[in-house]
Amino acid sequence: MSDLKILAVDDSPTMRRIIVNTLKRAGYEDVTEASDGKDALAKMQIDTFNFVITDWNMPNMDGLTFVTKVRSDPSTAKLPILMVTTRSVKDDIVSALKAGVNNYVVKPFTPDTIKEKITEVLANI
């Protein structure tokens, strides 16, 4: 069982549950949920996370803006971030990488993909 503390950000309650179940299956039990970028930043103010999984299209604050803000804060600039989204066009992927995501998963994803990408990101930081 991993001691990684993960923040999972998605506006869909169904998706958040699926992500939490997928992470548990991969051995990551400590998962906190947030419903959008603004909620995620608020939760990051009161708790410390060492991995973030975020959606892109969300109300209040979208994933790209959230990632940009995380990267601009020196205390979270190096936080590993995996984007999990339906957006699959090249320009979007390039924008996400430029904003600072470490890796990118398109929905619908398999549990193996999530586990593989988390492992890859952690291996490269």
């Binding site: 998605d10 506006d11 869909s12 309650p13 169904t14 998706m15 549950r17 699926i18 179940n21 997928t22 299956r25 892109w56 299209n57 969300m58 109300p59 979208d62 989204t85 339906t86 957006r87 699959s88 066009v89 090249k90 992927i93 390039v94 990488l97 890796n103 990118y104 998963v105 398109v106 929905k107 619908p108 994803f109 398999t110 549990p111 993909t113």
Partner: protein, 200 residues
């Protein structure tokens, strides 16, 4: 103007007046169907919202059952592991083999449960597609409101049309969201990221 051409001029003017009158009648005829369509737009949006709400409720219910099945499988696998340990301790090899078969079945169940969860991601994708459709309907509704306002002689209606056209509000949905992207989509993304990172 030549006096002799006056009758022709009068005839042309009369013809023009009739044409303008006919155009105005046509506009008035359009007004009523446009108003009726406008009245149906909010109902169309409401129905689409119901679809989103109800598919989310159904997906939540399926997820509840999938989680229960998964928890039960995990308990079963744990029980079988304990039983196997006992069987091995007592040298009952036939039983050990049977327990392994049962455990394989339980693990297959777990894989299938996660396949159900993977399929349930459709709900997020269809919710985005419906949000896009509702947005398009709202856009049509706004433009129809402006059109009827212009037909009613509202001088500021045209400004509202420009505002609607320049609306750059960030959307909380992906207009290209599709369920079919999946595995092949991920392979393409991985390939793109590899090529981008190798250029750095």
């Amino acid at each position: 103007m030549d006096v002799k051409s006056l009758p022709n001029f009068e005839k042309e003017l009369r013809g023009l007046r009739e044409a303008v009158g006919e155009m105005l009648n046509r506009f008035r005829e359009l007004h009523s169907p446009i108003r009726e369509s406008q009245e149906k737009m909010p109902e169309a949006s409401r129905q689409l919202r119901k679809v989103t709400d109800q598919t989310e409720a159904a997906a939540t219910r399926v997820l509840d059952v999938a989680e229960t099945l998964n928890d039960r499988d995990m308990t079963m696998i744990q029980c079988l592991n304990e039983a196997k340990a006992q069987a091995e301790k007592n040298g009952i090899t036939v039983l050990v083999k049977k327990i392994d078969e049962c455990r394989d079945l339980a693990e297959q169940n777990q894989n299938d449960t996660f396949a159900i969860m993977e399929a349930l991601q459709f709900q997020d994708i269809t919710a985005q597609q419906l949000a896009h459709t509702m947005d398009l309907l709202h856009d049509i509704e706004t433009r129809m409101d402006i059109l009827t306002a212009m037909m009613d002689g509202d001088a500021k209606a045209k400004d509202r049309l420009h505002e609607a056209e320049n609306d750059k509000e960030v959307k909380a949905y992906d207009p290209h969201a599709e369920f079919s992207v999946g595995k092949s989509g991920q392979a393409d993304v991985d390939s793109l990221i590899s090529s981008l990172k190798s250029r750095e």
